[in-house]
Symmetry: C2
Subunit: 222 residues, 2 copies
DNA sequence: ATTATTATAGACCGCTCGTCTATAAATCAA
DNA sequence: TTGATTTATAGACGAGCGGTCTATAATAAT
């Protein structure tokens, strides 16, 4: 039976329980493939405007698979948000730790990468949380906390980074790092949105420039 | 026949050409009523997620009327944007001219009114342009310029206001008012979005505070 | 009067949505 | 080995969408 199992598995797939797909697939974790595609598609097109069929067609699985892994569309959306939060926090940690001697460079790296990403997808992919946020009024209540949590996670990570910069004397001792971090993410969401409207990196660059200028400035209005 | 005309008209309506509505309406300009409802509904729910039927039901007119006044849904959306731009620019002019001796107070008034408006609708109504902007990737190309134009109009109005404040010595002579105005609207879009996510006025207040702090600050980095 | 214009009324079609039921293979229990 | 269970894919289904269409009813023009 060991032999039989080996024969059954394709190059990419290991034999699995359940009804096998009609045609071989390029992945072996259907749920993960759906979440990955969901992140990309929902980041580009939002939640309510995207049909499940759209995601299914991209991944190449039938509808039944979707409803096997997810209770409903909301459940899927929530799990996509969770995946995105993990992905994004990991990205932030990597950027913020990239230059421990100059923590502010970590933020600059993040900004540069964000600009690169926006250009790569020609300003069609913004921020998943921003998309969901814009749709808040028509989303189920269950989305409220997960979305707010994401912003809080990012704020915490950035505040930490700024405090490190402050300890090194790179930003004014009088600066309130928590407030600065909140200010950054509030504005950054607008920068992504504006970049989509203008189809240009300029809003991102302009916001970053303004934020960094007042951050580095040693004098602050009381 | 003069008498007959007077008899025919209801309290609110004047006699008009064309087939009369089955039941009397509370408005006499159907197109305007559709645009007004469109502004409110699209500001709350976005463009692609809202069906024409939704707007028709709110206004109480049949589909035939919609397609009499608008070529298609895109045409409607574009005209709603145009209306919103006029409404919003008028609001800005009123606020910015409210205290000519202290132009910065005009911006503060705008911010206060925006917070009031967000609270009034319990953070369900944000910015129409922000909503459309978030949907850019799935909108027809025809939306691109009108949306960007709105942001430009607002930037021009704010830049003017800031220049007046600068002339009065209320903000630093070294400040670049055009850049400051751009910075404000970029970030403000994010503040509205964040307020929707958090269902709180705090993001708007925090962004406003940060923006005004660096604006008023007399010292600017190099 | 007759025709043209304006505007409302709502049926209809093709398409897509989210849900649901059926099917097929692997595994487990006896 | 065989039947029940679990896992996963397959696709049918009804509801609702946007947009078009024809029909209708009033005024205005000739």
């Amino acid at each position: 039976m060991m032999l039989r199992l080996i024969i059954k598995q394709t190059v990419m797939n290991t034999a699995k329980r359940g009804r096998p797909p009609k045609q071989a697939r390029s992945f072996d974790d259907t749920k993960d493939a759906l979440l990955l595609a969901g992140m990309a598609i929902l980041t580009e097109r939002g939640f309510n405007t995207v049909g499940i069929d759209h995601i299914l067609k991209r991944v190449g699985v039938p509808k039944g698979s979707f409803y096997h892994y997810f209770k409903n569309k909301d459940d899927f959306g929530l799990q996509v948000i969770q995946h995105y939060d993990q992905y994004f926090c990991a990205k932030l940690r990597r950027c913020f730790n990239s230059d421990p001697e100059h923590p502010v460079n970590g933020l600059k790296l993040f900004i540069d990468e964000a600009v690169e990403g926006m250009e790569k997808y020609r300003f069609t992919r913004g921020c998943l949380i921003g998309n969901f946020g814009q749709e808040m009024p028509i989303l189920s209540e269950t989305f409220k906390h997960p979305l707010a949590d994401c912003l809080q996670h990012w704020t915490d990570l950035l505040a930490d980074n700024l405090k490190q910069a402050q300890a090194l004397g790179h930003i004014a001792a009088s600066a309130n790092c928590d407030e600065q971090a909140e200010f950054f993410w509030i504005g950054w969401e607008g920068a992504i949105l504006s970049a989509k409207v203008m189809q240009s990196e300029l809003p991102m660059r302009k916001f970053a420039k303004g934020f960094l200028a007042q951050l580095i400035s040693t004098e602050h209005a009381h």
